[in-house]
Subunit: 510 residues, 2 copies
């Protein structure tokens, strides 16, 4: 038999956005229909239908032979009660698989094909294997700019889209600032948002949590305030304060992109086309009309050369223009971390020092935030070209940015920041010399080993920057960890390679 | 903490050659080390170590917070008892991931890199996502012939390798015959093996079960005899009868290939490089010295044009020659199925009719088997070029091939073939005309819906072939199924498109 009725059982296994169905090996349906592990099936119940991958189970404590187990994602997506009758059938391949196969064969995909692919991805009809195939195929035969445009469009079409026009928005602008990532400590959003909100621009900023880095903006803001905010609450906050700094994960703004990212991440693939579609689809879905985009360039940044940065900039601009988004791309210095702290608590400390105008505040973070905030403020038609940064500086230095941030924190729900994690270890310069290189990737990895971002107070604190002269034995940075094992692990990795290149020839005498 | 001790629990879930580790969401290790679903981890116990993908579990009936669950494959691979203490850590990426990323970027891989990739694949260090990435990357930037050679070599190196030289093998040849697949009913191996064994050549044939087709040689032979034979038993049988027709799945001849196939199958990717490496690695590992390879060519075959067939032939020849395998490639007519039956019981019937010399025996199957058996026999240095087919015909017509087959069946363990499945339905020609096309893929799909190969008696029986004239309402083929639902499903698909093109203009008057 190719279909049969089974009782649904929810299986508490998180399969990370892949629908998995579990059938017992002795289930008559498995035997009769020739289902095997990794078969693609369609599960139907109560007029709803989902695609899933089958895992065959030998343990009746997980599923009994007359039950159909569903992973958490699949259960949520099918949205019927446990025990409900369901039917299972061999799945027809998703309609867009021919388009996927054409892309694998190196062909150009048209608008309708890309929309079909993205619809099937958003509906969880692709397996992880098919998703990986799509990602590799679109990375290899690089998407041309119209394909990127259509992919972006399609990603917007399958998600929610926010509308801020009815809010307290007399200028009609919804501004945002985004960085493509890759630079530890680069928490400028937490300065740009209060500055531009204080200027009166609407800036409903949503951010991600760290995926492979030691802290995302959402993780860092969470040290100071609640960030998991329902959409209605978010709109109230923005109405009251002009800004917010919330986690974007709950908003379902670009569900196809969320699914693709779950596969890109383990492959460490970040192709230009995917990056542009991912970022612009989320910003447009979030209702942004004007965006400042930060592309850091440096030997250990995501973009490693000026020509590559220019190509990426033009691709962003092409797609943004056709989708009606005003875009200002800023190429910045990505040769080293920004600020001193790396890790949620340490980065939040840097941000608050800048807002409070403390002498200890990291100047590089302050200056970069002012540059970017200035560019956002220049979206305001009342501001003259080149005048934005001066306005931003006035807002920051007058304390209005701090007041704006405090209002946002109170509106989201204030939290008491914990102190940096108590176990500490200083990594020392092994020789005298001048710092000629800092490896962003390596530092991020060391910081992650300390426990960040899961342990908010973990991370590291930089004492030395590019071009500084150091003595042998001088501390380069301090590791903070909550657990001894984490500190050991991070210390060992730093001992193997501390991420600093110190050139003795250019150095000072020891 | 980045590692901790947990008690191993075997989880009865078949994850199809991907190691999966299950940790409870409340496990202190998950919380402290920031493990999340799809994290790659290393599991260590008793001095052994495996890589696995993590699934996070919310149900303590599956794993408790202090347990480490392992899927069937992972449990078998780690090979320690339940309850044993294990440690889990974030996995370093497999060493060959940089080679994978170079291939994704379109670069050429050298011998050492391909060996490293294959070693990591065979050790289950690649996730399904990484496997899919490798398959798509090597399909897109098509492997050059040296890459195919090195891939094949590497696949042989990581598996078992059989040696037949000590067996009853006075000619020193170990012959085999293989078809690249795609043609329903094409069961020539079950005729070639007994013919060439009767000639005295050693032919230890192992075959696969059907993956996406309605019957593999192993499924069809299993109607007549046991096919799941331990290696020692197989060697006894070949010593006694010169041949065997066994399932190759248990032999672990090319474990990396078995893993790659588990991902190629759902993607329906069958790139030339992968095909050559897959087939030749298995044949060489099985100890073959001489191979006749059948490449069917036709509009719905795997190879659709003569130039494509010639390119594939040359690639097979290049790799085979460098690995010391004598190879004779035969391009055959792949425009339609071979024989009448499609499905294990019906195909076994065709084979036995040919061996018994029955008048009803399908002539196309007989003639193709004689052609291929003749080419195998010509590997015998004592046989003159062009003389093989005559010898094969004599062996078949004299009944020696039947006797050889009966001996092989008895040696493997005779089984009583069941009759064709009892529910039947004739698919009729909708109009008069001449048959100008038969769609192999569509017919295979219809046959699969009847229940083949899981229901051995299910399938279909062809009454009409290419170029035949048919009347409206004349039966084209008969569906056989065990279950009414299967018959309905197959009938509906045949009603939608019966896989026959009948051209009225060339037809006979109705």
């Amino acid at each position: 038999m190719t279909s049969a009725t089974l009782a649904i059982r929810r299986i508490g296994i998180d399969t990370w956005r892949e629908n998995v169905a579990f059938l017992h090996r002795d289930c008559p349906v498995v035997r009769a229909a020739g289902f095997q592990a990794l078969s693609k099936v369609t599960v139907q119940a109560n007029g709803r239908s989902i695609a899933a991958v089958l895992n065959v189970v030998d343990d009746a404590r997980i599923v009994e032979p007359c039950e159909l187990g569903l992973s958490e994602d699949a259960f949520a997506r099918l949205a019927v009660a446990e025990g409900h009758a369901a039917r299972i059938e061999h799945a027809e391949p998703p309609a867009s698989i021919t388009a996927l196969q054409r892309k694998i064969a190196g062909e150009h995909l048209g608008r309708n094909e890309l929309h079909a692919v993205v619809r099937d991805i958003a509906a969880a009809r692709y397996t992880k294997i098919e998703l990986a195939a799509f990602i590799v195929a679109t990375q290899q035969y690089e998407l041309d700019r119209d394909e990127v445009l259509h992919l972006t469009e399609a990603m917007i079409a399958v998600g929610q889209r926010l509308d801020w026009q009815s809010e307290n928005n007399h200028r009609g602008l919804v501004v945002d600032k985004h960085c493509i990532g890759g630079i530890p400590g680069n928490r400028t959003s937490m300065l740009v948002v209060p500055i531009v909100a204080a200027h009166g621009l609407l800036c409903p900023k949503t951010s991600s949590r760290a995926i492979t880095s030691p802290a995302g903006t959402a993780d860092t803001m969470e040290v100071l305030a609640e960030v998991e905010l329902p959409l209605a609450r978010l709109q109230q906050i923005v109405r009251a304060t002009h800004g917010c700094l919330a986690w974007g994960g709950a908003a379902d703004l670009s569900p196809a992109d969320d699914i693709l990212i779950s596969v890109e991440r383990p492959l460490a693939i970040d192709s230009p086309g995917q990056m542009v579609a991912s970022i612009l689809s989320k910003k447009i879905a979030a209702g942004s009309t004007h965006l400042v985009l930060d592309i850091p360039v440096g030997p250990t940044a995501k973009v490693r050369s000026e020509p590559a940065a220019q190509r990426l900039k033009r691709l962003f601009e092409y797609v943004a223009e056709r989708l009606g988004l005003q875009l200002d791309v800023v190429l910045t210095d990505g040769r080293q971390p920004i600020g001193r702290g790396i890790g949620p608590v340490l980065e939040a400390r840097d941000v608050m020092q800048v807002l409070r105008g403390e002498a200890a505040a990291p100047q590089d973070l302050r200056e970069k935030a002012l540059l970017l905030a200035g560019r956002v403020i220049e979206f305001d038609p009342a501001v003259r070209g080149g005048g934005g940064e001066r306005i931003a500086r006035e807002i920051l230095d007058s304390g209005r940015a701090l007041a704006s941030m405090e209002a946002i924190i109170d509106a989201q729900g204030r939290r008491m920041p914990p102190p940096p994690a108590s176990r500490a270890f200083d990594v020392l310069a092994p020789q005298a010399g001048r710092v000629t290189g800092i490896d962003n990737l390596r530092l991020a990895r060391i910081a992650r080993l300390t426990g960040a971002p899961q342990v908010p107070g973990a991370g590291l604190d930089l004492f030395v920057r590019l071009d500084d002269a150091v003595q042998a034995g001088q501390p380069l940075y301090r590791l903070h960890a909550q657990f001894e094992a984490d500190l050991d692990f991070a210390r060992r990795m730093a001992g193997h390679d501390n991420a600093f290149r110190i050139d003795a020839a250019n150095g000072v005498a020891a």
